[in-house]
Symmetry: C2
Subunit: 89 residues, 2 copies
C-alpha cells in the first residue's frame, strides 16, 4: 500500500497509476537520516524511516520530506508499506 | 524497539531509561499528519506515520518531527516499533 500525501493507493495498478501521474518532471532527493528496525518476529520484514529534502523540477527551495517503508522478504525484498509526506513548517 | 535520534534501545528497561533520562522538563506536541496502514497479513498490526511540531521547555521556535510506530494487537495494542526524529532544515 502507498500513502502519498494523505491519499491511499492499494495494489500494483493503483500505485503505478499514481506514481506515473505525478505532476513533476524531475525530482532530486537528499537523504538526511535512515533508521531501520526489525519488524514482527518471524516476519522477515524491516521497518525503515527516512527523512531528507526534495527539490522538485526547477525549484530552488528544497522541501523537507519523510518516508516510511516496510520491506518484506519473499525471494528478495518488496515494499509492503510506503508512506510519503512533505513536512510543512 | 525505540530509535530516538539515531540511537537504538531494545526492550522495556532500556527504553524507559532513555525516556526518563531525556534532558527536558516539558514538551508540547502539535500533530500535523497521521497516516495509518495495515501491516503484514495475519499480524494484527498497524504502521503509523506522524509528522508535526514539538516545542521543548521554554523555547519559542517549534521544531519539525516525524515519528513512526508499529502497533501490535495482543490483548490490547502495544508499541512494537518506535522511531522518532527531529527534521532539521
Amino acid at each position: 500500500m502507498l500513502t502519498w500525501e494523505r491519499t491511499q493507493h492499494h495494489g500494483t495498478t493503483s500505485i503505478l497509476e499514481k506514481l506515473v501521474g505525478l505532476p513533476f518532471q524531475k525530482i532530486a532527493h537528499k537523504v538526511t537520516t535512515i533508521d531501520t528496525q526489525p519488524s514482527l518476529p518471524g516476519a522477515n520484514a524491516i521497518v525503515i524511516a527516512v527523512t531528507g529534502q526534495v527539490l522538485i523540477d526547477e525549484e530552488t527551495r528544497p522541501q523537507q520530506f519523510m518516508q516510511v517503508f516496510q520491506l518484506v522478504e519473499d525471494n528478495g525484498f518488496f515494499i509492503f508499506n510506503d508512506i510519503f509526506n512533505l513536512n510543512y513548517a
